[in-house]
Symmetry: C2
Subunit: 451 residues, 2 copies
């Protein structure tokens, strides 16, 4: 076990409201967890001297700030090569002409390895310390993704996509049967849990039905049983678009949330991507089961046709975090997702059509601000993931990003008089990869500028 | 006069549709203009050998691409220090509590100089080769901004903001009278035109009434007469928000566009920021006068309350470019403005309220794609500015940015099989400062990676 070390400087997190720790001393124990958080330590504190003389104190400069690591609740790992392309196509064409042919290529393990290494490195560089990955139907490539996350030190949920529906999946990219899909999912769970060096569970498996339309009832029920039996996470899509929402209603006679619930796929460890078209009954059901929502504003612009009513759903008590939805979303930056969450909430509130009178244009009371978006990207993601991450609090994992003002390729510059909230606002509204100086996961430095 | 030189490589621009020049040879004459464009030169071309042996050929690698320099039609230079802050405040509070107190500080020339140098450098690093700047009411600071643009080699319009209305401007930040505002505007015009080294007009003056509500009728008319007399550009705001739109209607009995037209401020060299609430009659008037619109999607999210109907206005024949609207917009990147233009157009088309049926949610036919957004950011800006910039075409200025795939802090990675349009889509949907390797204005290298 590594030695205890400490970090000193301005830190900002969001237990509920945003909280600035003006001169925090955070002590990280050898297991990568936070032992102590002192929000405003005195320069005379004897612990500082002790850590400093032992060479185990990182001291932030005035122009640096520490945030919890970002939690990306929805990433399609195999789609990374098509990032930023074909978004002007309708969803069906995007999937059939661009996405499925790409995903098929992950039968080639060498191709998978090259993409997944680049993806994990890229997300770490963007400050994403935890990612929830959909892979493809290929077990070996999915295993490789899990190994890469572990080797690179990124906290992750990894799921092999299950999709067996004859009409909704292409002939050359589909599980042979519900049975084989379930067997491969089980094999992945066993593989990940047995990976050498994964005793602490940095990487965990997730049961991953693509979405209800792509899965037979038999597959959904089988995966629900497996998730319960194995006690593992579940990730899937839920009511993303008008089409998906109405398709499930027509096929199952109920909403996505209810269909997932019937199959035993809606529980405290379930993360539902999108949920744009859930109604009050769905929201109540999701809350009752303790499931979480991955809000993906970047992709919703292109493929949803509406804005997820984030503020209402937060008020309903749902646990919600953010997803980049690579590659339906065009950015690997969760900061970009966070500011788009703010932007979309504003456009839901104001409406968009200038030909309508203001009073009839939008949905009053829909806006969220940078504080909420930041919370979703950190503590909200941790809650959705049902793990102690996303806060600077004893017992939580030390997953953190250090941002620095005025870096050569950075976009953020703090003013000397900026208070913590203003620093945070600048970061959320304008920050990106170029502003990140260092990244830690479970107490381990996984990325440093120039390193 | 400098020597003729040439650049060879993949270039993409948008004369009308997007056009890829797969292996372009662009010859730049000593005056910084494009002499020749050969879209697909043979490796055996004798000109290549001649330029190469003279050490006057820049050869792009496979992973590099040349685009026209970006034209930012709307920048509030003094607001740069507040970039990314206070956007959750209503416009009136944002102006009175944050913006006006900041703008007042430009009475301090040293402060102005430090901000403006950083701003111009930042915009060049973001690939903005032409910017239209509003400054403050302070003549010396505005002169300094013009000098900095010229020294740094950025093409610019610079305007001293005129604002004399007793009720709409704060007592401590207002022109003393219409007369002094006009005199100072005239002094700026004379100063900029006489700047040593500005013979080619790299930096030009703009008559800049803040917006109709902030100006008395006397000031508007006086500035209109001055613009006509001096033959110079005009920049102002137009129908940005419900409030501004209705305020002008109540005060002037007409729309912003008509009020500006009456004052002689609507001509071929006028750039109107926003124009979100213009109706068909305004659009016809703007087209008739040949004025242009600076579409500012990033700030409209926060301060407009609706989406500019971009596609309809393009179909109406308006000349339209993009503006960052620093600091109402939180990003200095025109690529970020471009992708938000696409996003906003999609959200106008689809609507935002998931509780409405899809058919009643939005405004069909409103979407634009990355091609249109790119055109606005380059050729569209050039047309709006009424200058030969924004295209790789003989006689046009050589204002260009070179982007490179996979740079250390970059966000864009091209695939080997990417065609020109796909490369462009990746850049527009995901690119930023970290992807820019070099920037030229008027044939001069003004920014290079590591330089």
């Amino acid at each position: 076990m590594a030695e205890t070390w400490a970090i000193l400087g301005r830190a900002i997190h969001a237990p509920a409201a945003v909280e600035t720790l003006p001169r925090a001393l955070i002590i990280i124990t050898g297991d990568g967890k936070i032992g102590t958080v002192d929000p405003s330590v005195s320069p005379q504190d004897t612990r500082l001297r002790a850590f400093r003389s032992a060479g185990r104190l990182i001291e932030l400069a005035e122009d640096q700030v520490l945030l919890p690591g970002l939690v990306d609740l929805h990433v399609h790992a195999p789609q990374f090569p098509q990032l930023g392309t074909a978004l002007d196509r309708p969803l069906a064409e995007w999937l059939q002409t661009h996405t499925f042919p790409l995903e098929r290529r992950y039968a080639d393990l060498a191709f998978a390895e090259s993409v997944y290494q680049r993806l994990v490195d890229t997300l770490l560089a963007h400050g994403t310390t935890t990612a929830l990955y959909f892979s493809t139907i290929h077990l070996p490539a999915t295993q490789r993704l899990a190994e890469i996350c572990l080797a690179r030190g990124q906290r992750a949920l990894v799921g092999r996509v299950a999709m067996d529906h004859l009409e909704q999946c292409p002939d050359d990219y589909r599980d042979a049967s519900a049975e084989t899909a379930i067997a491969d999912t089980r094999a992945l769970i066993d593989f990940i849990r047995a990976m050498p060096g994964n005793d602490a569970g940095l990487v965990r498996p997730a049961v991953t039905p693509r979405f209800v339309p792509a899965c037979t009832d038999e597959l959904l029920a089988g995966l629900g049983a497996l998730a319960r039996e194995a006690g593992c996470h579940v990730q899937t899509h839920c009511s993303e678009s008008d089409w998906a929402h109405h398709h499930v209603k027509a096929r199952c006679g109920c909403s996505d949330a209810e269909a997932l619930d019937r199959a035993g796929l809606l529980g405290r460890r379930s993360v539902l991507a999108h949920a744009n078209f859930i109604g009050p009954a769905d929201a109540a059901r999701i809350r009752l089961r303790g499931a979480a929502v991955a809000h993906c504003p970047l992709s919703n612009i292109y493929f949803a046709g509406a804005v997820f009513p984030l503020r209402v759903m937060l008020a309903e008590g749902l646990r919600i975090g953010l997803g980049s939805d690579i590659a339906g979303g065009a950015s690997a930056s969760l900061f970009e997702a966070a500011r788009q969450a703010v932007a979309c909430s504003r456009m839901l509130e104001s409406g968009t059509n200038p030909a309508l009178p203001a009073a009839r244009r939008g949905v009053p009371g829909s806006r969220v601000d940078f504080r909420t978006a930041f919370r979703l990207a950190t503590a909200g993601g941790g809650e959705a993931r049902d793990l102690p991450i996303g806060l600077f609090r004893p017992g939580y994992a030390f997953d953190a990003v250090m941002l620095q003002s005025g870096l050569p390729d950075g976009q953020v510059v703090f003013a000397p008089e900026d208070e913590g909230e203003t620093v945070l606002e600048r970061i959320v509204m304008g920050g990106g990869r170029g502003d990140i100086a260092a990244v830690w996961v479970a107490g381990r430095l996984v990325r440093a500028r120039g390193g």
